[in-house]
Symmetry: D2
Subunit: 391 residues, 4 copies
C-alpha cells in the first residue's frame, strides 16, 4: 500500500481549493464491490443519482454525468452545441477561464476574450456591449466561470444573463461551476443558464473523476445542429440511456456510489445551510487575512469567493517557498498560484466537507507558516477568525 503522507502522525490538512477532503462516508461508499452496469441494481442507482444531482444544480432538466475530469465537461459543453468556426465570448477571470479559452481554440472555435486583471469578476456590462456590437449574431455562446478557482473571485451569473437578454442576443450561456457547485448558491434554471459545467472533487466532496453538464432545452436544441465532431461527450446517447438509469458506455460505477452518498449528505445538511456555512468560513478567512495585514487577490468585496481565498504574498517573498514550509512543517497543502500568479499568491480552500475547527487549524497553519518562513505579517489572524466564529 502506498504511503500517502510524508508526515508520520496525524491527519493531513488538504486545504487546496479542490480536490477537497472527502468524507469518510463517501470513501466507504466508493469502497464497495463494483456491480454490473447493465443490471437492475445499477439501474436504480443510476436513476437515483441522475435525479438527485439535479437538486444541487437547482434544475428540473437533465444533468449529464461523464466519467472524466471537469475539464472534459468544458469540452462537452462546447462540442455538443457548436460548430467549427463558431465564435464564443469568454471572459478572462483567471487561469481556468484562460484554459477554457485555450481549449475552445484547440477545438477550432473563434474566441472573443474579454481581458481581465484576474482580480475582478466578470464585467457583465462589457459582455452586454460586445453582444450589442455583434449585429450578425456570430457569437454563439457566452462562457463564464462562476467561481474562478485560481483567484477566489465569484461572478454574478444573473448579471450576465441580464446583459445577454438586454442585448437581445441569442447566444447560449455556459457557466463553469467547478469550484462553486455544492458550495455557493447556484441556480441553473432560475438564472437561465444553458450549459452548466461541474466536477466531482470540490463542493460535491468526491474524489476527482466525474464531470457534469446541466443542459437547458435551448442547449439541447443546439445539439441537434452542432457540427463539431463528438462521440464520447455526446449528450444524445447519454440522455437516451439515462432514461432508465443506464449509460451508453461503462460508467465510473464506484464514484457513482460516492455521488449517491454525497447527495445524501448535502440533503441532510440542506443546501441553504451548506451555502451559509461556506459564506461564514470565507468571511472568517478574510478576517484572518486582514489581521495578518496581507492583501486579498480579490479586489471587489461583492465578489469574494465563499469557496476559497487567494492571498497575495508581500513583495520579495515567494508563495511556493512559503507553501513548502507549511507542507513540511505543518503537513498542510495550500493551493499554489497558477499561470501568471505563480509564486505570487497562495490559495486557501475552505470548501466541501469542512467545519470551524478545521478552519481554525488551517488558519493556524498559515499563520505559523508565515512566521516560520519569515514572511512579514501581523499575528492575530486566527484570533480574528475565532472572534467571528465564536460569536
Amino acid at each position: 500500500m502506498l504511503t500517502l503522507n510524508n508526515h508520520p502522525s496525524g491527519r493531513h490538512f488538504l486545504q487546496i481549493p479542490g480536490p477537497t477532503n472527502v468524507p469518510d462516508r463517501v470513501l466507504r461508499a466508493i469502497d464497495q464491490p463494483t456491480i454490473d452496469h447493465r443490471g437492475p441494481v445499477f439501474g436504480a442507482l443510476g436513476l437515483a443519482v441522475l435525479e438527485g444531482v439535479r437538486e444541487v444544480f437547482q434544475t428540473r432538466g437533465p444533468v449529464v454525468i461523464f466519467p472524466s475530469s471537469g475539464t472534459g465537461a468544458w469540452e462537452a459543453a462546447l462540442v455538443n452545441t457548436l460548430s467549427p468556426g463558431d465564435r464564443v465570448l469568454m471572459v478572462e477571470t483567471g487561469h481556468f477561464a484562460s484554459l477554457w479559452r485555450k481549449l475552445a481554440g484547440r477545438l477550432g472555435l473563434e474566441v472573443d476574450f474579454l481581458e481581465g486583471d484576474w482580480r475582478h469578476p466578470v464585467d457583465a456590462a462589457a459582455i452586454g456591449a460586445r453582444l450589442a456590437d455583434d449585429a450578425e449574431r456570430r457569437i454563439k455562446a457566452v462562457c463564464v466561470v462562476h467561481n474562478e478557482t485560481s483567484t477566489g473571485v465569484t461572478s454574478d451569473v444573473t448579471a450576465v444573463r441580464r446583459a445577454i437578454d438586454g442585448a437581445g442576443h441569442p447566444a447560449l450561456l455556459m457557466v463553469d461551476t467547478i469550484s462553486s457547485l455544492g458550495s455557493v448558491d447556484y441556480r441553473h434554471d432560475e438564472w437561465g443558464v444553458d450549459v452548466t459545467v461541474a466536477g466531482s472533487q470540490k463542493g460535491l466532496m468526491l474524489p476527482p473523476g466525474l464531470a457534469f453538464n446541466a443542459v437547458s432545452e435551448k442547449a439541447l436544441a443546439a445539439a441537434d445542429t452542432a457540427r463539431l465532431p463528438r462521440s464520447y461527450w455526446d449528450w444524445r446517447e447519454m440522455l437516451t440511456a439515462n432514461e432508465r438509469g443506464y449509460f451508453p458506455y461503462t460508467p465510473s460505477t464506484n464514484l457513482l456510489y460516492g455521488l449517491h452518498e454525497a447527495l445524501a449528505m448535502l440533503r441532510e445538511e440542506g443546501l441553504p445551510q451548506v451555502f451559509a456555512r461556506h459564506l461564514r468560513h470565507a468571511r472568517a478567512t478574510r478576517l484572518a487575512v486582514a489581521a495578518w495585514g496581507l492583501e486579498l487577490l480579490s479586489l471587489d468585496p461583492a465578489a469574494h469567493s465563499p469557496a476559497l481565498t487567494a492571498v497575495v504574498m508581500p513583495a520579495g517573498h515567494g508563495a511556493d517557498a512559503f507553501r513548502k514550509t507549511v507542507l513540511e512543517r505543518f503537513d498542510m497543502s495550500l493551493g499554489q498560484g497558477l499561470g501568471k500568479l505563480a509564486d505570487r499568491v497562495f490559495r486557501i480552500g475552505h470548501l466541501g466537507h469542512f467545519n470551524d475547527l478545521t478552519l481554525c487549524g488551517t488558519l493556524a497553519g498559515v499563520e505559523m507558516g508565515l512566521a516560520a518562513a519569515g514572511v512579514p505579517h501581523r499575528p492575530g489572524g486566527v484570533r480574528a477568525a475565532m472572534d467571528f466564529l465564536e460569536g
Copy 2:
C-alpha cells in the same frame, strides 16, 4: 448507504466479462483520502503508476492514462493521430469493433470495414489484401480488437502486423485490448503496435474510470501533424506533465491509488502466471460448455478467448430470460448478448481477480440456471471442469 445487492445473503458473483470482481486490496487502496494532485506525494505516485503500467503493456514507451472510460481511449487513439477525412481500416469482429467504427465515423473519419460474422477472429490476410489495394496509401490506420468482449474471440495481432508489413503499408496499427490487457498475453513493443487502447475495469482489476493509450514513436510522430480537433485527449500536454508524475488536468487520484495496488498484485503473481491462469479457466469453461452440449459462439479453436466465453442459446430459448433466472435464483450476473447477438448468447466472464472455486461456483450457477430455466442441456458441465481443474 445504497444497498447494492437484491439478495440478502452471500457474495454476489459478478461474472460478466467486465467490470470484474475488484480485489479487496484494490478497493481499500481506493478508499484512502484524496491528496493534492500537485504535491510531492502525488508526483511519486504518478511516476510509480506511469512506470509500472508499462510492464503490463510490455512496452518501454509511454502509456497515457486518462480519467475516462475505455471508450475515451478509443477516441484518444484516433484524434491524436488522424485528420478529418482520413481513412481507417477496421474489422468487424463483433459489437465493440462496430462501436469503434461508429465512433470513427462520428469523428469524421472514413472507415473501411471488413465485414465479419462475429464468430471469427480478424482475418489478417484480408487486411493484407485491402492494404495492398490501397496504392495511394489513403488508409492511415488499421484498427483491430484484440479480444472481442462481445464474442469471446481473440485475434492474432502478430498476424495483423505481418500483414501490414507484408503489404509494405505505412498505416498505423491500433489495437483495443480493453478486455485482454492483464488477462491475455499482449506485447505492445514486440508486436509493433502503434496505439494500444485499454481500460481499468477488466484484467487490471479496478473499477471503471481509467483508460489507457500505449503509444509508439510512430504514433507520436503522427500526433504532430494530425488535425482532428483535440484537447482533453491530447497526448502532448499529458506526456509533458507525466515526466514528473503529474497530469495537465485533475487526474482520478483515488483510482490511481487502486492502479498502484493492482500493479503490485500483478507483479506478485507474475504476468506469465496470470496469463496461464486465464488460459486454464477458459479451457475449464469450454469443457463445461461442451459437456452441456451447448454451442460456443467462437468457431475457431485457435481464437477462443482466455478472458470470457460466449455461449449460444439453443433455438427457442432466450438468453435474457435465462440470465434473469440466474440473477434472481443464484445471485450471479452473466454478460448479455450485445447488438445483433441480443438475447441469443450469454457470456461468462472468467477474467481478473479469479480462482478455481469461484469458477466452479460460476459454472454451477450456469448449470443450475439452465435447469431452472428449462433450457435443454446435459448436466455434467461442472464435473467436466472439475476433472480438468483437479488434474
Copy 3:
C-alpha cells in the same frame, strides 16, 4: 499492509465453521472512525444494538455484550451465577463442551460430566435422570452446547428444558449458541433458557471480538448471591450502564458498528428465511457427502447441524494432509478435527453470509481436493448438491 492470502488471485474461501465470511457491509461499518464512548451518539448506538440483538436471541430480557471472545461469555455465565464449589452438570457433546467443562473446573466448580461419543446430541433423558438423583439439589446449573462446532451435531434444547422441569429441579439452564445463533432457530425466552452464551464471529457475521450473555430473571436473581469472584464479567454494572446505552468500561466501539449493520442485514433477510437458508445448505452438503461415499460424524439424522458438517476421513487418510491440499491448491480453509478428532475429521462451515454458488464452489473444492489428495471417494457430490439446490 499485511498480505492476508498466500494465493495470488481470487477470493479466499473461508469455509471453517467460524469465523465466517464477513460481509462487505459489515467490514465497511467497522471501518468508520471511533467515537466518544461516553457521548450522545454512542448512547444511541448502544441502545440500538442492545435492543436489536434481543431479536436474534428471541428474548425480551437483557443481553449483555462483552468486548471478548465467546470463551469469555462461557466464563461470564458461570461467574455471575455460581459460587465456589457449586456443582454443574455438563454434557460431553464434543471438544467445545469439553473446553467449557475444563473452564468450569478452573474456576473452582465441580462438574458432573455426562460422557458422550462426540457423535450424538445431548441425551436429555440422561440429564433428567441425573437431576432426579440429585435429591440435595447440589447441581446449580445444567450447561449444554446447542450446536457443537467440533462435531456438527445440534441438540434439542427444549428436550433439556423438559427434562429439568420433569425432574422438578431448580438448576439454571445455560446454553452455548456460539455457532448456532443467527444460523439455527433458537429461542431464549420460549425455551426457558437462563443464560445463553454467544459470540460475534459465526451467524452474526462479524469478526471475532464480541461475546454475549442473554440472561433470564432467574439468572439475574442468582447473580445476587453468587460468590465466584468477578469484575470484568459482572452483569450488574453492565446492565445499569446499558440502560442508557453505555458500558461500564470502554466497549469495542467499532465492532458495535459492525453489529449494528449485521443486525440490519438479519432483519432485512428475516430470521425465518435465515434459518431456512442454513437448513437448505446443510442438506445440500450432506447430499454431497453421501454421494462421495464418506461418513458424517453426526450419527443422529435429527441432530445434523444446519451450520456445519463434519466429515469422517476414510481409514488411513489424514484430514490435515487433505485440508492442506485444499488450502494450497484451491485456496479454501476447512475446519480441522479438534481434540480427539484431530486429523480424523474435517469440517465444512456453511453458515453466516453465504449463498448457493459459494456453497457449490466450496463443495467443488472439497471434491477436487479429495481427488488431488488421493482420498478414496466417489465423484458426484457437487452434482448431488446441485440437483437439490436447483430444484
Copy 4:
C-alpha cells in the same frame, strides 16, 4: 449505515484522552476479510504482532494480547499472579487507580490504598515506607498507574522501582500504561516492571478491543503458584499457543490486522520521535491553559502528562455544560471529569495520531467554547500554543 456524527459537515474532533483518532491506515487494515485463526497466514500475523508489540513495551519478554478492554488486562495482571486474600499496595492517583482498587477488592484481594488528592503523582517514598513496614511481606504486589487518564498526571515508575528495591521487598511491580503506552516513554525491562497493563485505544491508535500484559520472569513464576481462579485471562495457555503465533481461543483477528499496521506506523515515526511529539503537544496545551488563566489539575510540573491535560473549571461553572457547548457548537468531544472530578474538570486528549494543526483546531475549539459558554477566561491560548509550535 449508522450516522456517527450529529454534525452535518466536516470531521469530528475526538479529543478525549482515548479512544483516540484512529488513522485511516489502521481502519483500512481492520477492514480486511477475517481469516482462519488456525491457518498458516494467521500464524505469520500472530508472530509478527506478538514480536512487534514488544518494541513498544521496550521488553524482550512476552506480551500477552487479550481480546478485551484494558480493564480486562488489569484483571489479568492480578488473577495470574495472586491468591485469595493476598494483599496489594495501590496508590490513589485518580479515578482509574480507584477503579483498579475496586476491581482488586471484588476479586477477593486486600488492598492497601495510599490515599492521594488526584492532583499529584505516586509518592514513591510513601510506597517505600509502607513496604518497609511490611515485615511479614504480606504485600504481594505494588500497583501503580503510570499515566492517570482521569487527571493528566504521570508518575515516575523508576522511583517506585527504587522504593521497592530500597525496602528490599519482594512484591511484584504492576503498572497500568493504558494511556501512556505508545505516547510516553515507558520501559518495561529497564524499569524492572513485572506486569505492564495496556490497551489498544490510546497511543496504539487502534479502536478499543485489545488489551495487553507484558510479563516479567518473576511474574511468570508467580503465576505458577497463584490461586485466584482464572481461565480466560490465564497467561499459560496463551504463551504456549503464542509460540507459533496462535491463541488458545479465537482472537480478535481484525483488530490484530490494525495492530500490525499501527506497529508499522510507530516504527516509521520512531518511538523517540513519538514521545517527543507528545511532550511538545502537551507543552503547547499547557501554555494555552496558562494563557487562558485557567488552572491545571496537575500540580506537580514534573508530572504533567504528555498525553492529556485536565483543566479545572472556574468556580461556579460546570464542565459538562461547557463540554456540551463545545460538542454542539464545534463538533469536538472533550473528556469529562470522572468520579469525584465530575463536572469540575475537562480533559483535552493530545495523544495518538495527532499533529500540530489538529492541536491548534482543538485549542481553538476550547477557547471558542469557553467564550460561547460564558466561562471566564483570557483569550490568547491558541496564540500561546502557536508561539511555541512555530518556534
